[in-house]
């Protein structure tokens, strides 16, 4: 046997050939350790179990729907390849799946946990949908049933709204990015609310709605977002982040038109009725006031009032008359007194009391004139008169105490 000397390169090449030809496709179960994500986008890790370990590489562009972590049990699918520069071999992975659970499910759970922690699902940040949106944005596929259902429902319920439709990729590698762009475009168009979604499909079909890209786009949106992904039973990350989750595209359209055209028309009927009643009752009130003012009752009240016044007047007149009568009496009394007084002063008054008047030479003889014998006198009494001759004169018998002469 010839001693055949090989170079390192040749040997490595031979090993490489053997390994790569022998193991073009392997499925390997193991625990991830020493996981590293290189700046270039390539990912390196070691897959190990109790007895051995093997290097693994996941080239950039090979997407794994979840983030690998040390300690994770995974199943890799790939081929063996040799790296001559370092003299080692590795599994060139095409895909990595979590062992046990579905990888997409794991990715879903991971992202959900992460976003929940970041506050993406907080109920406080959920916005209410406008009750009568003017512009409704729709981001979905132009060919699916979803757009048809949405447009029919919107038309049926509130044709007054303008629908802005942004045809959108909803599955495939570029879907997530396109959905995010669509949301931004619809928002900048001035939509009051945006419906984003698609019809039902497998978890892979719906996957774009489970990506961080779409979650971020919904989270960033400044207008309310209604998500409608798949059927009732399909729940995606987008549904959690959206302001409202609709079970179906039709339900989403209904949520965006809480008030239908018929509702508005009915409301208008009601409005007309109520305002008419309100105004009528106000006018009725005014009319009542006027009618009341003019009513017999009021007139009666007015005449009653009059009566009262009249009564007061009569009363006053009565009092006045009484007063007048009283003063008249007084007056009469005074007159009587005066009359008596005057009567007392009558020159013939004293005759009443038995006195007599003496006349001499045709006139009443004053008290201060003297009598002389031989005077012819005439004596006047109350009921008779006589003539007399003076025979003698004497000194006065009666003297008036107060009359000093």
């Amino acid at each position: 046997m010839n001693e055949h000397v090989l170079t390192v390169s040749l040997l490595t090449q031979a090993i490489s050939q053997v390994l790569e030809e022998e193991f073009p496709l392997v499925h390997v179960l193991g625990e991830v350790s020493n996981y590293k994500r290189h700046q270039s986008g390539h990912r390196y890790f070691t897959l190990k179990d109790e007895g051995a370990q093997i290097r693994c590489v996941l080239w950039r562009g090979r997407t794994v729907p979840f983030e690998l972590q040390d300690g994770m049990q995974v199943k890799v699918r790939g081929r063996l390849s040799v790296y001559p520069l370092q003299g080692n071999y590795q599994i060139d992975c095409w895909s990595v799946q979590p062992a046990g659970v579905g990888d997409l499910y794991l990715a879903f759970e991971q992202l959900k946990k992460e976003l929940a922690a970041a506050g993406y699902f907080d109920p406080e940040r959920k916005r209410r949908l406008p009750r009568l949106p003017q512009i409704i944005g729709v981001a979905t596929s132009p060919s699916g049933a979803a757009i048809r259902d949405i447009l029919t429902t919107l038309e049926r319920r509130n044709p007054a709204a303008t629908v802005v439709f942004r045809p959108t990729l909803v599955q495939g590698a570029d879907a997530a990015e396109d959905i995010a762009r669509a949301l931004a475009e619809l928002e900048s168009f001035g939509c009051d609310v945006i419906i984003v979604g698609r019809g039902g499909g497998s978890i892979e079909d719906l996957w774009a709605f489970n990506t961080r890209t779409v979650a971020d786009a919904i989270f960033r949106a400044r207008v309310p977002i209604v998500s409608a992904v798949g059927h009732e039973t399909d729940v995606t990350i987008a549904d959690f982040v959206a302001d409202v989750r609709a079970a179906t595209p039709t339900a989403a359209a209904e949520l965006c038109t809480p008030i239908r055209r018929e509702d508005v028309l009915l409301w208008l009927d009601d409005w007309v009725e109520r305002t008419r009643t309100a105004l009528a009752s106000r006018l009725d009130q005014a009319e009542l006031l006027i009618a009341d003012f003019l009513s017999p009752t009021t007139s009666r009240m007015l005449s009653l009032h009059h009566e009262h016044l009249r009564f007061q007047l009569i009363n006053a007149v009565e009092r006045l008359r009484a007063a007048a009568l009283r003063s008249l009496d007084t007056c009469l009394q005074q007159q009587e007194q005066l009359r008596s007084a005057i009567a007392l002063l009558h020159p013939l008054g004293p005759l009443d009391r038995g006195f007599a008047l003496i006349e001499r030479d045709g006139r009443i003889l004053p008290a201060i004139e003297q009598l002389a014998p031989g005077d012819q006198l005439r004596i006047h009494r109350l009921r008779d008169s006589a003539t007399a001759s003076v025979t003698s004169v004497f000194d006065p018998v009666y003297q008036l105490a107060t009359h000093d002469g």
Binding site: P130, R131, L132, Q134, I135, T140, S141, P142, S143, G144, A145, A146, D149, L151, P159, A160, A161, T162, V163, V164, F165, R166, P167, T168, L169, V170, Q171, G172, A175, R181, A182, E185, L186, F189, R198, G199, G200, D205, E232, A247, T248, P249, T250, R261, V264, L265, W267, L268, W271, V272, R274, T275, R276, A278, L279, S281, R282, L283, Q285, A286
Partner: protein, 75 residues
């Protein structure tokens, strides 16, 4: 989009305001009548607007190479 004419929602809100003021009836009758007339005009316009309206669909941007080709959603 510039909002030159009041939106349906704005008009409905105005009508609601008018109704409340009419029902409160704490203004002079002249004002109430004026409010009523304003409201009736709005209501009439709205009714016509709603009766004649057709859905407007605007399609913007986006290039689509793929569709989600699914049967009509079951709802």
């Amino acid at each position: 989009m510039a909002k030159k004419t009041p939106t349906i929602d704005e008009q409905l809100r105005r009508l609601e305001e008018i109704r409340q003021q009419l029902e409160a009836a704490d203004r002079p009758i002249e004002e109430l009548v004026a409010l009523y007339e304003e409201g009736m005009a709005i209501a009439k316009r709205l009714r016509e607007q709603l009766a004649s309206i057709r859905q407007r669909i605007i399609t913007i941007g986006g290039q689509v190479e793929q569709d989600d080709s699914v049967p009509p959603s079951a709802d």
